[in-house]
Subunit: 194 residues, 2 copies
C-alpha cells in the first residue's frame, strides 16, 4: 500500500469560499487578454484599472486517480463592454473526466461546450449543482449584481487544458442586452477540427 | 468516443437535500441490526417502533472511472441506547479512492478508520468539508438535536464495500455521556487481519 494520507477538514464560508486555502489564484483583467469578444473594451478598461475578475481558493489534494480535488471560485460582478466577467474556462487533459460546480452564493451561468461545438448552459443560484459530464469544456459567468461563488470538484487525474479555449474560444458568449443576460454567437470562435 | 452524456442540473435544498432525486434509500432501525453496541436497546426500540435512521437521495451518474457520483444524506436525531443514530458505514471496493462529505445542515461527526484500526474524526457543521482519503472506511453520526444533512461525492468507480463494517464493526463508537458525545472503544470490534 502507498503511504496513508490523513483526513483533511476544510471550512467553507458559504458567502466567501474556502476559509484557509493552501493557495489563492487571482485572475485580473490583464490575465484575460483575447478572451472577451470586445478587445477595445478590455483595452479601455485596462487603461483605467486592472480589476480582479475572479479568485480561486484551493486545497492541496494529490493530483492522482482516485482523489477528488476541490476549490471554491469567486467571480466578481462586472462587464468588459457588454460581456460579463467570467472564468477562462478549460477542458480536461484526461478527456473522459467530469466536474461538479455547486453554487453557494450569487448567480450566474455554467457554459459548457464540446470540442465539436455543441453548447449547453445551466443557470446557477445557491443550491444548484451542475454536473459537467466527460468531454464538455466549461466556463462560469457572473450575470448577477454580487459575487458569484461556487464549490468545484473534479477527479485528481483530470488535468487542465486551457489551450483549446485560448486558441478557439467558446462558440457562444453571454452579454447584457436591455439589462438581461443573453447568449450570442461568438464572432471570434473558430471550430476545433477533428 | 463513447456516447456523449448531457449535463445534469440538480437542485439541492440546504435544509432538505436533493430536491428531485432519481432514487431514495431509507434505512430504518430494523436495517441496522448488529450495528449498534447495545443489541438489547435496539430490540427494545424495535418492539415499540421502527424509526427512520437515515435517508439517502441519489442522482443517476454512470458508475465509471472519470465520473463523480453525488447524493445527499439526512441522518435523523436519535439514539439506540446511548449510541447516536448513524449510517452503516463502508469502505470502497476500489480501495485507493477518496470521498468528500460537505455538511449543509445540523451537526455530527465523520468517523473514519483504516482496515489496520487507525481512527480519525472530523466534527461536522454547516460549511465543513471532510476529505476522506483513499483506504479510510467512513461512517457519519448525528450528535445534534436536529437533522444532520450532507452532500457526499465519490469517484464513479469507487464501489461500496459494506461487508468489512458488518463483520468487524468500527474500532470506536460515539455515545452520549452526561449529555455530550464521546468516543469509546467498541466492545464488538474485531480487528481485520492482514
Amino acid at each position: 500500500m502507498e503511504e496513508l494520507m490523513e483526513p483533511v477538514r476544510t471550512l467553507i464560508d458559504f458567502k466567501k469560499g474556502v476559509v484557509n486555502p493552501d493557495r489563492i489564484i487571482e485572475r485580473r483583467a490583464s490575465d484575460m487578454q483575447g478572451m472577451y469578444s470586445d478587445d477595445l473594451a478590455l483595452e479601455k478598461l485596462l487603461s483605467q484599472d486592472n480589476p480582479l475578475i475572479y479568485q480561486v481558493r484551493e486545497i492541496n489534494i494529490p493530483k492522482k486517480s482516485g482523489h477528488i480535488i476541490y476549490s471554491t471560485t469567486i467571480i466578481y460582478p462586472g462587464k468588459v463592454g457588454k460581456e460579463y466577467f467570467m472564468t477562462k474556462g478549460h477542458f480536461h487533459t484526461r478527456e473522459d473526466t467530469a466536474e461538479i460546480y455547486f453554487c453557494l452564493e450569487g448567480e450566474g451561468y455554467l457554459l459548457m461546450q464540446t470540442k465539436q461545438g455543441k453548447v449547453s448552459t445551466i443557470h446557477m443560484r445557491p443550491g444548484v449543482l451542475g454536473y459537467i459530464p466527460p468531454y464538455w469544456g466549461h466556463r462560469t459567468i457572473n450575470t448577477g449584481k454580487k459575487e458569484f461563488i461556487f464549490l468545484a470538484l473534479f477527479p485528481g487525474d483530470a488535468g487542465h487544458n486551457y489551450e483549446v479555449v485560448e486558441k478557439h474560444g467558446f462558440a457562444q458568449i453571454m452579454i447584457e442586452e436591455n439589462g438581461k443576460p443573453i447568449l450570442k454567437d461568438n464572432p471570434k470562435y473558430t471550430p476545433v477540427s477533428g
